[in-house]
Amino acid sequence: MNEFLQQYVFSYLDTKGLTPGGAGNIFWATVYILLVFGGLSVAVIAMNWLERKILAHMQVRLGPMRVGPHGLLQPIADAIKLLLKEDIIPAEADKIIFWIAPFIVVLAAFTVFVVVPFGPTHAITDMNIGILFMLGVSSLSVLGIVTAGWASNSHYPLIGALRSSAQMVSYEVAMGLAVVSAIMMTSLETGTGTLSMIGIVQAQQAQGVWFVFKFFPLGLIAFGMFAIAMVAETNRAPFDLPEAESELTAGFHTEYSGFRWSLFFLAEYSAMIAVSSIAVTLWLGGWLRPFPGVHGPSIAIPHIWPPADPAAPTGALDFVFALCPGISFLLLGAMCFYNVQRMPKHPLFKIQTMGLAGFGAVLGLIGLIMFLPPVRDRVEDIFWFSAKVAGFMYLYIWYRGTFPRYRFDQLMKVGWKVLLPTGLALLILTAIVGMHADLWAQITGGGQ
């Protein structure tokens, strides 16, 4: 029995190029699920803190500073508060539906991460309909929102829910069109395209270019369309009229308090990360480092470079980019220490200063660990993917701080009258250009 388990566990490690789901290994699939779930929860908590801090800095204020050094423990305080709040259910509300609605939204938002590729084998599974699955399951969250509005048994949340869902459904069309034009690009070198997420990134690797730069400006326009549609899809500014405070309709989650509201909030951030993952995978090269086709001269440093895997590239540029995860964590640690020496030298701040120094030390330690070759090789793909998704999160927060809100009819007008025709035109153009790629290369002078 023991030997069977051992063999089961280690057999996956020997397979190359297969995700746990692809290899059919339940143990490792569960491990990956737990890792992704845990990472996602940490990411949502970090997003909460980052949003408040970054928004505050854009608004010339500081944000949370008291709960933990620089407010780092604020999300934990918020979570505790939300868990301890009284659970209020409206009087005439339908209790079963009221309970189910946040459940559906969270389910939809978390299930999409089954196919998100953090690396060539770093995904829970690689369905061959990966992108279709992601779009489909994320559209199930509309159901949760509609039922949440209904279950509140109140006029305004129902209107807010219907508006939210109408908005999400409209922008799904634009998203779908942008996605299809990116999928078409995967079929260029090999003759057959693929819907699998890992396959899409591998197509970008094979063609040596991120799809956002492919057939310039077609890839860029498709990326731009998707970037706009995904902000509307997740009900974030500037498309957040259904849940804005200064409007009449107060949003579908008005009647939800405490833990149930935090589920909606969790699902919203997860959905943001999920659609950003789609954008990163389809256009920004997924786990590929910048300039994936350029390798530079081959170098060799004993014990450090080249990596153990004989198939990995060994160029100088690869080495420089491989150092980036460690360097970025060291930078974060250095920022923490910089803020430590800026802390007030008052005895009341001693614990906060020590806490921040400890946090900085942990970050620096992680950075140093990321320089070790075995860790570095495995972590590189995950790092690049996460860095790109983090860039998108910053964009989300930036949009919220800068733009006014669209009125609902203007929102729908943008979705149907601007994005949809652009998407159709883009689709046709990409198809034509893709079929005559050599002609396009001639016209644009050898570019791709």
Partner: protein
């Protein structure tokens, strides 16, 4: 279906007989609402999403200021006027002091008038900054609020150094000023002018050419110049509808004749034009302040005013251009130390009438933008 533009507000309660669509809704934007700038209650009559008509219910902040005025001496009533338009308290004080001075037939000495103009224009800027921040916040741009309030702090610091209070300043006295300009007043004002010029450019950069701002404000809440004059609307709302009327130029007071400035005028009378007019007024106020601070004459700051004021029997109406419009005071004196009647003509009260005309045919989300663009202060509306 009847033309909603011909419904008068009085028809709001009785249903229109030819109105077949039963999708009408009467919604209450209650006195407590994040976007009504105070305790204003608006009852909206909607057809789906379109506004058919609205009715404002005011009085939630009524404190009986005018009645109080009948029981206070002229000097004692001076602090009360600050509390009406609490955002632009200095203007209120200027209007009242000038009205009583007119009643007493005295004129404040030139030095006092220059300092009054500087403080009033600073207050105009502070009021417009508050307007800009809250208006942008209602439309969804949450960041300009912090920028404008940060810059408004500099103005409030000057007020605090001058008279000890930031908001309800009670800066002026009947006949002139009580406090001499403190040491460094001119330097502070000059520094402020240099400090705030790039900030105004910053506000404009965030909003003026922003596509979403344009879509939310162009064509929203249109009112024609003729309607404005008919309703008695004044201030930036009137000027944005194309009528070039500013009391500082038309019926000059407080030495405004000495200063060279322009009156910004809009064309369409929509929310965007009101925004442009007020942004231009920022710059014109800065011009006035610059000119005033260069040439403050020396001299006394208080005219010869009797200690116990008993104005001759009579009545006087005097109005000034407050940041929100024409602020008028009508004082009837019966020869005693207390006025017989103090009637305030607040600009926000009269401008609020235009809300109905502006919101007809707009969508519900625009009502909030229009309330913001009228720049009303409930303290003034209700007194």
């Amino acid at each position: 279906m009847t033309d909603p533009n011909t419904l008068s507000p009085l028809d709001l309660e009785t249903p229109d007989k030819t109105f077949l669509d039963t999708n009408e809704l009467v919604i209450n934007m209650g006195p407590q609402h994040p976007a009504t700038h105070g305790v204003l209650r608006v009852i909206l009559r909607l057809d789906g999403e379109k506004v058919l008509g609205l009715e404002c219910v005011i009085g939630y902040l009524h404190r009986g200021v005018e009645k109080i005025g009948e029981n206070r001496t002229y000097t004692m009533f001076n602090p009360y006027v600050d509390r009406m338009d609490y955002v632009a308290a200095v203007s209120n004080g200027l209007g009242y002091c000038e009205t009583v001075e007119k009643l007493l037939s005295v004129e404040a000495p030139p030095r006092a008038q220059y300092i009054r103009v500087i403080l009033t224009e600073l207050n105009r800027m502070a009021s417009h900054q508050l307007w800009l921040g809250t208006h942008a916040l209602d439309i969804g741009a949450i960041t300009p609020l912090f920028y404008t309030f940060r810059d408004r702090e500099e103005i409030l610091k000057i007020f605090e150094k001058y008279c000890g209070a930031r908001l309800t300043t009670h800066a002026f006295r009947i006949g002139g000023l009580q406090y001499e300009a403190y040491d460094g007043f001119e330097k502070d004002v000059k520094n402020f002018v240099d400090f705030v010029k790039p900030k105004i450019d910053e506000y404009e950069e965030l909003l003026t050419t922003n596509r979403i701002w344009l879509e939310r404000t162009k064509g929203v809440g249109v009112i024609s110049g003729k309607d404005c004059v008919a309703l008695g609307v004044t201030g930036p709302v009137l000027r944005a509808s194309g009528v070039k009327w500013d009391i500082r130029k038309a019926l000059p007071y407080a030495n405004y004749k000495n200063f060279d400035f322009e009156i910004p005028v809009g064309q369409n009378g929509d929310t965007y034009d009101r925004y442009i007019v007020r942004m231009a007024e920022f710059r014109q106020s800065l011009r006035i302040i610059e000119q005033a601070v260069e040439g403050i004459p020396a001299g006394p700051i208080m005219a010869k005013v009797p200690k116990v004021m008993k104005p001759p029997v009579g009545e006087v109406y005097h109005s000034i251009e407050a940041p929100k419009g024409e602020l008028g005071y009508f004082i009837v004196s019966d020869g005693s130390t207390q006025p017989y009647r103090v009637r305030v003509r607040p600009p926000s009260f009269v401008n609020l009438q235009a809300l109905d005309v502006m919101c007809r045919g707009q969508l519900v989300a625009d009502v909030i933008a229009v309330i913001g663009t009228l720049d009303i202060v409930l303290g003034e509306v209700d007194r």
